[in-house]
């Protein structure tokens, strides 16, 4: 039936025969889209006396908000931290491929690097909308260099930095990064001298601050949260282990000292390798609403099994394990976001809605963008995925436009 266009000439699409995630439940409702946003069909009916131009039968699929990955270092051979003259080509390649995993927005992540790398690479990465060309860029995640040498993980020690003093934190940040435009998230260690001022300054500029690669105790972590920090980078990894007399950063999950009205979120790599499923369950049960699934994927993600050369290093990919070639040393994660969602649901036994929200609503809330992303509420951006009951991605939509569909020839 053609619509009676009294408010807008734009075509209205109605997705039928689907179960949509709304108000924390899967509901048998149709999803209505116009001009890239989710539409309220009741208002359309009564205010505009209009109806759909196109109807799409979803075949009973689950419709969830598009996944948001706030920690991803690269993929398909691309490493975002590499000094390159054409960083945007690498970002575009990964952004395009991410659509297959149901990711509609992401934060390209840069690991600890020397200032000249940040100065060269950062200006080339811009916040941009997603579309048929690929997932949208929400901003860069700067993981380091203001982190602890004792928990550097794979970050190069010689490029770690500290703050010169409480009055110079902004100067230090600008000196290292060159600027904070297009930066969405910064990971730092709160026990570093002066870091509380860095947390405040960053938060005031709208940057989300995350705690990670740190040996902070719980009080230091809580102080950082009081100053505005709201995320924990890959919980359990690169921090002190939970101890019953000083839970450390992990204790933020159940801390009584989180300021009223605020929440602490925490990233988890649910690939079955980087976190033992029992640990995943403990975290989830302690603070289910704060869990944010991240891939922390490295450049090897998306490359097939076997040996590959990445930068200066040879790696061996075997299933979901990536080893430094010829060794048993793990070299990073390569699980895709949809794999993480499936593994998370399987390992925790949580409801489908919880698994989906951990990859969509929670990261959107973390970044303060849940008014437009991460939900299927009326007025939100129409970024969503069609999934089967096993949570395999069947199709991905950005701004209401289909940008990827699984064909029968595709593997997995």
């Amino acid at each position: 039936m053609p619509s009676n266009k009294s408010v807008s000439e734009a075509p209205i699409t109605q997705l039928l025969n689907c179960r949509i995630l709304r108000d924390h439940r899967l509901q048998n409702e149709d999803l209505w889209v116009r001009e890239g946003k989710i539409l309220d069909p009741e208002k359309l009916f009564f205010d505009e006396q209009a109806y759909a131009d196109n109807q799409v039968d979803c075949g009973g699929a689950i419709v969830a908000p598009g996944f948001i990955d706030v920690q991803i270092n690269g993929g398909y051979g691309v490493d975002f931290s590499q000094a390159s003259d054409d960083v945007s080509a690498g970002i575009s390649l990964v952004a395009q491929k991410l659509l297959e995993h149901g990711v509609t927005s992401f934060c390209p992540t840069l690991v600890t690097s020397p200032p000249h790398i940040y100065h060269k690479v950062l200006p080339q990465i811009k916040v941009q909308d997603g579309g048929p060309h690929g997932a949208g860029v929400l901003g860069v995640h700067l993981e380091g260099p203001f982190i602890s040498a004792k928990k550097k993980g794979a970050h190069p020690e010689r490029f770690l930095r500290t703050f010169s003093g409480p009055d110079t934190v902004m100067a230090d940040l600008m000196d290292v990064y060159g600027g904070l435009d297009n930066v969405a998230l910064v990971t730092l260690a709160p026990e570093l001298e002066g870091s509380r001022w860095a947390v405040s300054e960053l938060c005031q500029r709208g940057v989300t601050v995350s705690l990670g690669h740190s040996v902070a105790n719980l009080s230091q972590a809580e102080e950082a949260v009081r100053h505005g920090a709201s995320f924990i980078t890959h919980l359990f990894n690169a921090m002190l282990p939970f101890h019953h007399r000083d839970p450390g950063i992990v204790g933020l999950l159940t801390s009584e000292h989180i300021p009223a009205g605020r929440s602490v979120y925490y990233g988890m790599i649910a690939d079955g390798i980087h976190t033992n499923p029992a640990a995943l369950r403990i975290a989830h049960r302690a603070h289910p609403k704060g869990l944010v699934l991240v891939t922390d994927a490295i450049a090897a993600m998306g490359l097939g099994p076997g040996r590959h050369k990445l930068g200066q290093q040879d790696v061996q990919i075997c299933g979901l394990h990536v080893y430094v070639a010829g060794t048993q040393t793990l070299s990073g994660s390569i699980a895709t976001m949809d794999m993480c969602v499936r593994h998370f649901k399987h390992a925790t036994g949580c409801r489908v809605e919880e698994a989906l929200e951990a990859a969509s609503l929670h990261p959107a809330q973390l970044l303060g963008i849940s008014q437009s992303k991460g939900t299927l509420d009326f007025g939100s951006h129409a970024d969503f995925v069609l999934l089967d009951d096993e949570l395999n991605v069947k199709a991905t939509f950005i701004s209401g436009q289909e940008v990827w569909r699984k064909t029968t020839q595709e593997q997995q």
Binding site: N4, E42, F45, E48
Partner: protein, 275 residues
């Protein structure tokens, strides 16, 4: 009148839905000739709406050439409020069928000028050629729409203040908080419904039994406004066993004995596929 008595709520809802379906299809509505239907809200017609949606889904019935006029709407309740009658009709009926939104009429309880809104509604009904079949329910106090006890039996669409009984009955939809229940409503008048070619009142449940008794076994009385339909040439009351509990055994036996005649109205059940 016809008094059609079914064993339970589901059977009564189904009978009513089949009747509406047959009436629409027999009429052969088209772009030049719409079938006009008056519609109620509340828990009673819910089952009937479910069946009508089923018939649409199976391709047996279409609302493309049907115009609807709802009986009433609260005054001052935001249209998007989950308890508004707009919300009820959208969530329980319009959302699922193929009616043209321009043909679904509901009184606007937030209009600037309520009297003008009521007059405009009467005019729209007249312009649509009058109502072919007005479906309604009955309140525990015997009211039709919001024509509370004491309403004129020749009344037209207007603003009414709700009776205490009605407010109490509605409280369950507002968290049992009497202060949250709207106190005024716009409603079609008794006279407005009497103008319809045919009227079908659906009454189910023991709590409606006394009202049904007053409506059909006592005289025409403005304290039980549904009784006005004793003077309408084509009225059908569809009810379940429980709603007949206050009627005389003789009345019930008589009408039950007529079920084979009544059932000819719904059997065979027609389909748009029959062409």
């Amino acid at each position: 009148m016809r008094l059609v008595i079914l064993d339970d709520y589901n059977l009564a809802s189904e009978w009513a839905a089949k009747y509406i379906r047959n009436r629409i299809i027999q009429f052969k509505p088209s772009a030049n000739n719409f079938f006009t239907l008056g519609l109620p809200t509340g828990s009673t017609p819910y089952g009937c709406y479910q069946k009508l949606i089923e018939y649409y889904r199976c391709g047996e019935l279409s609302f493309k050439f049907v115009k609807t006029f709802n009986m009433d709407e609260y005054v001052g309740l935001p249209r998007a409020h989950p308890e508004s009658y707009h919300s009820y009709m959208w969530n329980n009926f319009f959302k699922y069928i193929d009616i043209d939104p321009a043909n679904a009429h509901i009184l606007d309880g937030n209009a600037e000028d309520l009297e003008a809104e009521c007059k405009s509604y009467e005019r729209k009904i007249a312009e649509a050629g009058g109502i072919h079949l007005f479906v309604g329910g009955i309140g525990p106090d015997g009211h039709i729409a919001f024509n509370e006890p004491g309403s004129s039996l020749v009344s037209r669409t207007r603003v009414k203040t709700l009776a205490k009984d009605t407010i109490v009955a509605n409280a369950r939809f507002f968290g049992n908080d009497l202060s949250k229940v709207p106190t005024m409503a716009l409603t079609v008048g008794v006279g407005t419904v009497m103008d319809a070619k045919e009227v079908m009142i659906v009454i189910t449940g023991a709590h409606k039994a006394f009202a049904l008794y007053k409506a059909i076994e006592e005289g025409v009385n403005h304290m039980w406004t549904v009784s006005a339909f004793q003077q309408h040439p084509h009225t059908i009351f569809v009810c379940d066993e429980d709603a007949t509990l206050e009627l005389r055994v003789k009345t019930v036996k008589y009408f039950k004995g007529l079920m084979h005649v009544h059932n000819k109205l719904v059997d065979p059940v027609l389909s748009v596929k029959d062409k």
